[in-house]
């Protein structure tokens, strides 16, 4: 029987790999990939606890599912806007290295 701890450890591992990706990578699109990994790890966590509460209470726990759905929606919106921003900055400065996007002007 798979216990709750296995899912939580998997989610923690995925989240921290995502954090490593965001901290260490120089390319902005690679940083976005790390963010997607983090959001997926959070989703695993939410759904594991949804299962736990549904199993304990016997009735379907709605808030867990709604939370996970809104995380997916927010991730989709953020990926779209983030990539639009990256492409727009790429057109100006011809570079997508995150460390070089350090001026607020123009």
């Amino acid at each position: 029987m798979v216990s709750l701890s296995w899912y939580l450890i998997l989610a923690a591992a995925l989240f921290l790999i995502g954090v490593y990706g965001v901290i260490v990578r120089r390319n902005s699109i690679a940083i976005l990939m790390g963010v997607e990994l983090m959001l997926n790890a959070v989703n695993i966590n939410i759904l594991a606890f949804w299962h736990y509460h549904t199993q304990l209470n016997g009735v379907v726990n709605v808030s867990g599912m709604v939370f996970a759905a809104i995380v997916i929606i927010a991730a989709a919106a953020e990926a779209a806007v983030g990539l639009a921003l990256i492409i727009s900055v790429f057109r100006r400065k011809n570079s997508i290295v995150a460390a070089e996007m350090n001026v607020l002007k123009g």
Binding site: M1, N27, F90, S95
Partner: protein
């Protein structure tokens, strides 16, 4: 070791391996492909948890839309970062140590909770019960109608904002 445990361990190993590949490969297109593998692994974990709706939505939204968007963005900004320059900045050693330490802190702290080792059995939900509950929760005023509508407005804003930001101004 029953079948469920074997299936979980195999999918979990695939997901973690794919995630490590995503954050360490130089070639961005390969990293995007490994991201698709990781997303597939997460979808299978959702299916194991009994949230079949979310497994299907994960593949449909994340892989069918977001991953393809990432691949298009990688291809549009190619030839700028050549694959020979370093992909990682100078902080990578410290980051590895930090990540491992935080992992052990997290696991040790949440294992003190009483429900940590609760075995998860199959939910006694039949057919469309969970999806119906989700649907009703999304539109009932006592439920989550407001976050749902806010999320729709967020998607509309992201759609319009994305098109406007990435529009090619010189062609006007």
């Amino acid at each position: 070791m029953n079948v469920q445990q074997v299936i979980f361990i195999s999918f979990a190993l695939v997901t973690v391996f794919a995630a490590i590949m995503v954050v360490s490969l130089r070639n961005l297109f390969h990293a995007a492909l490994w991201l698709i593998v990781a997303l597939l692994g997460v979808a299978s974990i959702f299916a194991l948890l009994g949230a079949s709706f979310f497994a299907a939505v994960q593949i449909l939204v994340y892989i069918g839309a977001i991953a393809i968007l990432l691949i298009f963005a990688v291809m549009l900004t190619r030839n700028i970062m050549s694959d020979e320059t370093t992909q990682t900045n100078r902080a990578w050693g410290l980051a590895v140590i930090l990540v491992v330490v935080i992992f052990f802190i997290i696991v040790s702290q949440i294992s003190t909770w009483s429900g940590f080792s609760q075995p998860l059995t199959d939910l006694p939900l039949s057919g469309q019960e969970s999806i119906l509950a989700l649907g009703k929760g999304f539109v009932s005023p006592n439920g989550f109608a407001l976050p749902f509508e806010t999320a729709s407005v967020l998607l509309l804003a992201a759609l319009l904002g994305g098109v406007y930001i990435a529009m090619d101004r010189e062609k006007e």
